[in-house]
C-alpha cells in the first residue's frame, strides 16, 4: 500500500542526465524553478516547456512513470486552482451560484497550474535521475563555502542522506508491523477519531523502538569505522566537472536567455507585426 509513491524516487537507467554532476542538476533545478516565476507570457512558458521536454527526453525515464507519481499532487493542485479561480478580485466573467469567476482569476489559475506542474515535474526529474547519495554529495560541495561561516555543512549533508536512506526502511517496517498487528486482529479503520488515534499505539510504539534501534546500530557502525565528522575527510570519488557538465551549463544559460527574450520580446514583436 505504501509502495506506490514514486515522488522523490530514483529511477535506475543510464542516460546523459543520470551521468551529469549532481551540482549541475541541483543548480539547474533551482534556476529552472526561479525562471518559472520570473518568466512572463506565453513565450517564456513555451521555452520552459521545450526545455523540460528536452530534459525528460534525454533522461530516458518514461514520462508515464513520472506522471504516475504525481497523482497525489493533482488533488493539491486542483485546490489551489479552484481557490484562485473564484477568489481573485477583478473583472467578472460569469457567475456560478454565489461565486464569481473573474478574468484575472482564470489567468492566475492557468498560470499557477502551469508553474506548479512544471515545478513538480522539473524537480522530480532531478530526484528520478540522481541517487540520494549523489544529491547530498552535490549539496555538500555546493555549500562548502558556508563552512567559513561555521555552518556545519558536512554534518547537515550527512544527516540529510541518513534521513533519506531511512525513509524506505521505515516504510517497509511500518508495513510489516501493521501486518503483524492485523494478524492479531487489530483494527486500524473503524471507530471515531479518538479510537482511531488510540489504535495507532500498537503501530507507533514498535515503529519508534525499531527506529531507535536502527539509529543506535548505525551510530555504532559509524563509530566503529572511526567516523568523526567532516574534518579532514576525503572522498573516494570526489565530484569533478567534466566536459558534459560545462555543456549542460551552457544549455541552461541558453534556455534562460531564450526564455527572457521570448517572454519580453515576443509580445512586442507581435504587437509591431499586428500594428
Amino acid at each position: 500500500m505504501l509502495r506506490d509513491i514514486t515522488l522523490g524516487q530514483y529511477y535506475q537507467v543510464d542516460s546523459v542526465i543520470h551521468r551529469l554532476d549532481p551540482r549541475v542538476k541541483l543548480g539547474t533545478t533551482i534556476l529552472f524553478i526561479i525562471s518559472l516565476f520570473v518568466f512572463d507570457g506565453v513565450g517564456g512558458y513555451a521555452a520552459a516547456a521545450l526545455f523540460l521536454a528536452l530534459v525528460i527526453r534525454l533522461s530516458n525515464v518514461p514520462f508515464r512513470f513520472m506522471i504516475k507519481g504525481m497523482k497525489s499532487i493533482v488533488f493539491l493542485l486542483s485546490i489551489t486552482v479552484v481557490f484562485n479561480l473564484f477568489l481573485t478580485p477583478g473583472e467578472p466573467m460569469f457567475r456560478l451560484w454565489k461565486l464569481t469567476v473573474t478574468q484575472e482569476g482564470v489567468r492566475l489559475a492557468v498560470l499557477l497550474s502551469i508553474r506548479l506542474g512544471f515545478l513538480i515535474i522539473g524537480s522530480s526529474v532531478m530526484t528520478l535521475t540522481t541517487t540520494p547519495n549523489q544529491l547530498t554529495d552535490g549539496l555538500e560541495k555546493m555549500l562548502k563555502p558556508l563552512n567559513k561561516l561555521k555552518v556545519p555543512v558536512h554534518e547537515i549533508a550527512m544527516m540529510m542522506s541518513i534521513a533519506l536512506r531511512f525513509i524506505p526502511i521505515l516504510m517497509e517496517e511500518t508495513d510489516k508491523i501493521m501486518k503483524a498487528q492485523l494478524a492479531r486482529c487489530a483494527d486500524f479503520e473503524s471507530g471515531n477519531l479518538i479510537k482511531k488515534a488510540k489504535s495507532l499505539v500498537p503501530l507507533l510504539v514498535p515503529l519508534f523502538i525499531s527506529a531507535f534501534r536502527r539509529a543506535n546500530d548505525l551510530a555504532m557502525a559509524m563509530e566503529a569505522r572511526c567516523y568523526r565528522g567532516g574534518e579532514h575527510r576525503t572522498k573516494m570519488k570526489p565530484l569533478q566537472y567534466e566536459k558534459r557538465d560545462y555543456i549542460a551549463y551552457l544549455i541552461v544559460l541558453c534556455y534562460l536567455v531564450a526564455g527572457v527574450i521570448l517572454g519580453k520580446l515576443l509580445p512586442v514583436l507581435l504587437g509591431t507585426v499586428l500594428a
Binding site: I177, L182, A183, R184, C185, A186, P202, P206, I209
Partner: protein
C-alpha cells in the same frame, strides 16, 4: 478446519516494468491436525504464501477456501479468519508494544471482543503454553531476552486460540539453544492442543525432526509436497535450488560410502543413533 488453495498466483507490482511473480499457480490442501514444514530459499515465495492464508494479502488470481468458504468473497469475516489462522511473523518480538508482558498477550483476544476476564484467562493459558515462567508476566517485554520475547510474541497469537498456527521462521536470529527450545515448545504445543501447525523455514535441520509433511517451494512454485523421507531422498535436486538435506543425512551417506551398512534415509539425529547402534550390535 481445512484450508484449500486453488491455483493461487500473486504478482508484485503488476503492470509495471518491475513485476515479479511471487506465487505461481499454487494448489494445496492443508487438512486439520497436520504438522507441516514449508521450506524454500530466500525469495522463493514462502512468506508471501503464508500471508495469503490469513487474508493479509490478496491473490492476483485463484481462490483460497477456509472451511469451504472463499475468503475473498463478499461478506467474509476477515477478522474471524485471522483469529482462526494465527500467523506469527518473522522476528515477532518487533511487534510488542505494551508496558508489560501480560497486557501485550491480551491484545489479540481483546480485539476479538472478549471480556477482560476471558481475555486474561486466555493470555495466561497461552503464556503457560509457550513455557514462560510467572515471574516475567508483569515485566516490560523489552527487558526480556531474545528467546523470551519471541515466546511472548507467539503467545500473543496463541491467545486468540487459532485452529491453524503459522510460524514464519520462528528460529531466525536465535542461538542453537534458544532455537531448540522454541522448536521443542512448538512440538509440545502441537501434541497437547492438536492444532494444525505450519512451520516456515529455510533450514531442513529445523523441520526434519518435527514435521510429518514437507512442502518445498522454489521460485513461487511447489517443488515437492511429500513426507520428509521422500523429500530428502531428492537431496541433489534440493541442493540445486540452494537447499540441503539435514546434515545427519549426509553423515550417514558418507558412512555408507565408506562401507558401513547403514541406511542413508535417516533424517534426525535420534534415528541415526539407533541406526548406528543397531549396526554395531549386529557385528
Amino acid at each position: 478446519m481445512p484450508i484449500i488453495l486453488d491455483k493461487v498466483s500473486h504478482i508484485y507490482g503488476e503492470d509495471t516494468a518491475m513485476a515479479v511473480r511471487a506465487l505461481d499457480n499454487i494448489s494445496l490442501v492443508i487438512p486439520d491436525g497436520q504438522f507441516i514444514g514449508l521450506i524454500g530459499h530466500t525469495g522463493s515465495g514462502k512468506s508471501t504464501l503464508v500471508q495469503h492464508l490469513n487474508g493479509l494479502m490478496k491473490s492476483t488470481s485463484g481462490s483460497i477456501y477456509f472451511n469451504g468458504e472463499d475468503i475473498d468473497s463478499e461478506g467474509f469475516d476477515k477478522k474471524e479468519l485471522r483469529s482462526k489462522v494465527g500467523l506469527v511473523f518473522q522476528y515477532p518480538e518487533h511487534q510488542l508494544f505494551e508496558t508489560d508482558v501480560f497486557s501485550d498477550v491480551c491484545f489479540g483476544p481483546k480485539n476479538l471482543g472478549l471480556t477482560k476476564k476471558e481475555a486474561e484467562l486466555r493470555a495466561y493459558a497461552a503464556l503457560k503454553l509457550v513455557g514462560l515462567e510467572d515471574d516475567y508476566f508483569y515485566q516490560s517485554p523489552f527487558d526480556l531476552s531474545g528467546g523470551q520475547k519471541r515466546r511472548v510474541a507467539i503467545a500473543g497469537v496463541l491467545a486468540m486460540k487459532p485452529e491453524v498456527l503459522i510460524l514464519d521462521e520462528p528460529t531466525a536470529g536465535l542461538d542453537p539453544k534458544g532455537r531448540d527450545e522454541i522448536l521443542d515448545q512448538i512440538a509440545k504445543l502441537k501434541r497437547e492442543t492438536g492444532i494444525t501447525v505450519l512451520l516456515v523455514s529455510h533450514s531442513m535441520d529445523d523441520v526434519a525432526k518435527y514435521v510429518d509433511r514437507i512442502i518445498v517451494m522454489n521460485k513461487g512454485r511447489v517443488m515437492y509436497d511429500e513426507e520428509p523421507r521422500e523429500v530428502f531422498r531428492q537431496y541433489q535436486a534440493l541442493e540445486a535450488v540452494g537447499l540441503a538435506a539435514p546434515q545427519v543425512t549426509y553423515i550417514m551417506k558418507e558412512l555408507r560410502d565408506h562401507g558401513y551398512d547403514v541406511s542413508d534415509e535417516v533424517t534426525t539425529i535420534e534415528e541415526a543413533k539407533r541406526e548406528i547402534l543397531a549396526y554395531f550390535r549386529e557385528r
